[in-house]
């Protein structure tokens, strides 16, 4: 195993955006599911966007699967990311949206087309391949985005609350599906959440507050005896 078993290694990461500053130093083991939790404006999204390569970082080093990706393009970092919205192109069919995860030029050979069909089938959308996102429900859109994550087959999956707009039952269903997809793809997952009950479904927990990123710790232990700042955030 490369990277000594560490799937994600963040060293001396510093981000400065106007008045806001964030620093992080942590490592994540392969195959873990992490909940990133913290107050609004604490820097959770900023952290994930920096890992994904979407915003400038001031200094530091990011390593994914034993490879230095600090300066790599977003598509060359071994990372798949789902955003709060805009995860699907509304003018392309679900199959095309998923296909982009395999080839950005959308020239799929037969095996790849079958792969797209298979991925859609595994998220329960076999019948909807030729629909456009606007013609299916919010839950089905989330499923299609997850099908793309499946075919992207990246070792690290970042979720910036992609299911926030769904109702509680549907959200739980999507989180389960995500876990299953991540397990099938062998991916490590970092997901931002506001809900403690969602966090409880993860293995580890990263608490972000005011630009400070606490290293991951097992969820059960942390929630049983939260540090003062997390206790205040949880309202306990």
């Amino acid at each position: 195993m490369r990277g000594g078993g560490g799937m994600l290694r963040v060293e001396g990461l510093k981000i400065a955006q106007g008045d806001f500053a964030l620093s992080a130093d942590f490592a994540v083991e392969r195959g873990r599911r992490l909940a990133v939790i913290g107050p609004s404006g604490a820097g959770k999204s900023t952290l994930l966007n920096a890992l994904g390569g979407y915003i400038d970082i001031a200094s530091g080093r990011i390593e994914v699967d034993g490879r230095d990706v600090t300066d790599a393009r977003p598509d060359k970092r071994g990372i798949a990311m789902l955003f709060q919205d805009g995860n699907l192109f509304p003018h392309l069919t679900l199959a095309q949206n998923v296909g982009l995860g395999i080839r950005p030029a959308l020239r799929l050979n037969e095996a790849e087309t079958a792969q797209v069909r298979d991925a859609l089938g595994r998220v329960g959308l076999a019948e909807f391949a030729d629909r456009k996102p606007g013609d299916v429900s919010g839950g089905q859109q989330s499923r299609a985005a997850l099908a793309r994550v499946l075919v992207q087959a990246k070792p690290l999956l970042l979720l910036d609350e992609p299911f926030a707009a769904l109702g509680p039952a549907l959200r739980v269903e999507m989180l389960d599906l995500t876990s299953q997809v991540a397990r099938d793809a062998g991916a490590t997952v970092l997901m931002i959440t506001h809900a403690p009950e969602d966090a409880e479904r993860a293995d580890d927990l990263i608490f972000v507050e005011a630009g400070a990123v606490a290293p991951p710790a097992p969820v059960g232990a942390v929630l049983a005896d939260p540090p003062p700042a997390l206790r205040a955030y949880l309202g306990r």
Partner: protein, 515 residues
Amino acid sequence: MARRAQPVSPWVGIIAAGFVVAVVIAAFVGISQRIETTTGLRAAEWQAVRFTVWQAFFSALISVVLAVPVARALARRRVPGHTLLVTLLGAPFILPVIVAVLGLLAIFGRNGWLNTALGVVGLPEVSIYGAHGVVLAHVFFNMPLATRLILQGWQSVPAEQFRMVGQLGLTPRMVFRVIEWPILRQVVPGAFALIFVICLTSFAVALTLGGGPRATTIELAIYQAFRFDFDLGRAAVLSLLQLAVAGAAAVLALWILPPIAVQTGRDRAVRRWDAPSPWGDAFWITLVAGFLLLPLLSIALSGLVGLFYMPFSVLTATWTTIWVACVSTVVLLVLALPMAAWLAQAKWGGAEALTLLGLVASPLMIGTGWFILIFPYASPTAFALPVTALINAMMALPFAVRILLPPMRQVFNDYGRLSMGLGLRSLALWRFVLVPRLRPQIGFAAGLTAALSVGDLGVVALFADPDVATLPLQMYRLMGAYRTEAAAGAALVLVALAFGMFWICDAWGRRYAAS
């Protein structure tokens, strides 16, 4: 340190912008070769500068002053044919200038409907030729534009505000103070500035209705120096003047020029509780409808008759016009799309100023420069059509970029990260994301360019010899030869061509418009 990645490489856009700048600079080099220190500025040149600024100022002022009550009336009343009227307000923008002039002559000319009516009641006749004719034609073109810009501002007022007015029982005076005045203060300066800048480079209107020492714009003076005296030195001096005047105006106006949106016919009815007596509004709507429709009607009527009098030259000119317009449109898209993509990602907002080069560098100024450059080596008439196509594209560039830029920014904002994450770049990004998302705007910009190119009577008049003509030039020649029926027939063909090409492009954009 990691640099933030961008979905589209800015270089193609920068090269496109560099090309535009190079075309203008080359023209400038050509001009400066012919400027001699002894050429100096004569009274006639100053007179042209004064008239250019004067007519642009009054054209803009009258257009805006008339547009305010019309936009207000259209915003708060529903009249039969309301949607059609709002759509028609967009028509003059793509109506070929020479056609509109013919229509205005039919109404306001010596034998026009107005003078006939005045004669019946024994009043002296009015003349459309001269300074006031130039302003009248400019108002015909630009008052509808101003009305639409102001109407858009009015429609941006949330319906809740008008409900609040009803709830509080505000008087019309208060409504004006609380809602209308703030909107007008936002929209009117931009509309005024846009029209002022457009009118500064007016050529075809001045050519047909102006002339003489008291109604000659700088552009027209360039043309006259060229065609009548073949005095390239004087044309060069005038070109420099045009550049200075339009450049100064554009720099001043840049910050208040409004964005140009695709008119989606979004004239939803807002229930209003504050409208006073309807008669004032009825007056304004009737006035603008008459002012717009009567010239168009006269073109249609006389054109149908004139179709039978058209010489064969109209047919060849039509063919020439179509391919010039097609080339212009392709050149425009090749320049505007990468530029818009670059500007949409650029942090430096001032980059937009580059697009104004198209407005600042007037067609005849660029034409003069290129004529001087080509002249020693080849016959400029051989380049008449390619140069016309290129300059037409450049003239449409400021509008096209302003149409494309806001939605382009939106696409990068909504789908930039997703595209980067998936590795969508260059051609794949254009094909799967940008073109499908921007289809309505691309179609609209292409249609606008095609229509403007079809109707353009500018640089082609400078270069062309008697054998080469676009349809507007041919029509102008027919008018000059007093072949009025034939000119009217050509006008109808020209209108059909301009609107037809606009419609084809625009319909392409709207069809399968991405949901």
